[in-house]
């Protein structure tokens, strides 16, 4: 029974790890939201996205989560008019990364909520274990 609860903690930990990587990628996107190329031929920063998939732990038989892949959205950019920029083309247009900071913020809020839910699940499993141990105290 306690083994089962420990399996629950392991699953929640996998969730925490996955959400941690997700928030890392989100902060990369925000930090690089105005990174352009050095030349007019170059591409700006490519926005990254993470995708999750569920993963069965064969020892415990429970379903955890893992980060399936971190994808770059290749070839997506917006253009702004800035003729003096080093990366401006012959029309004065500069390729900017297609990072919508509002969207990254919304994504970040969702990540934080999921993270909190996982932490709550760990906390609860720990409480159930200590309730079991407390039975011995009479």
């Amino acid at each position: 029974m306690v083994d089962t609860l420990k399996a629950a903690m392991a699953v929640s930990t996998s969730g925490i790890a996955a959400q941690t990587l997700r928030i890392r990628v989100i902060s990369e996107n925000i930090a690089n939201s105005s990174v352009t190329a050095d030349t007019s031929q170059g591409d700006p920063y490519q926005r990254k996205t993470v995708s999750f998939s569920s993963q069965v732990d064969r020892v415990n038989g429970v379903t955890g989560v893992k980060v399936n892949s971190v994808n770059s959205t290749l070839g997506q950019y917006t253009q702004v008019f800035d003729p003096n920029h080093v990366a401006a083309d012959e029309n004065g247009m500069v390729k900017m990364p297609k990072v919508d900071v509002m969207m990254e913020m919304a994504d970040m809020r969702e990540t934080v909520r999921s993270y909190q839910a996982n932490v709550q699940a760990v906390r609860q499993a720990r409480e159930l274990i200590s309730m079991t141990i407390d039975m011995m105290r009479g």
Partner: protein, 125 residues
């Protein structure tokens, strides 16, 4: 001595609750997994697990009944809402279920504690 069965029943129920907690943890961990269907286990029935598992003769042997789901039936639960990515995990609902598990577990351990006190007082210790 039907009273002895109480501890067996309580053990079974505690086992069922911990499996349910694991399924909830699995749902929460997969809250953002595309296409993941939220799961739950079948309702508790006394006597469900008594004759279920095989005895492993070696610690290295895999026992198909020893997984977290044990002998309880795990199935997809009816979805409250479905995300665009196909996931059906609703976090508030999972938190609610976890709260129920906590309350039931508390009741279980409290009953066992007081039952144990009764047994101990019968011996006059």
């Amino acid at each position: 001595m039907s009273a002895i069965y109480l501890s067996g029943l309580a053990g079974e129920h505690a086992n069922w609750l911990s499996v349910r907690q694991t399924v909830i943890a699995s749902n929460v961990a997969n809250a953002n997994t595309p296409g993941f269907k939220a799961k739950d286990i079948s309702a508790f029935e006394p006597g469900q697990t008594r004759f279920a598992s095989l005895v492993a003769t070696n610690a290295g042997h895999l026992n198909p009944a020893s997984g977290a789901s044990g002998s309880f039936k795990v199935s997809n639960e009816s979805a409250w809402d479905v995300y665009h990515s196909g996931g059906t995990v609703n976090l508030p609902r999972e938190m609610m279920k976890a709260g129920q598990v906590s309350v039931d577990f508390q009741l279980n351990t409290t009953v066992m504690k007081s039952f144990h006190r009764m047994v101990v007082s019968a011996f006059g210790v």
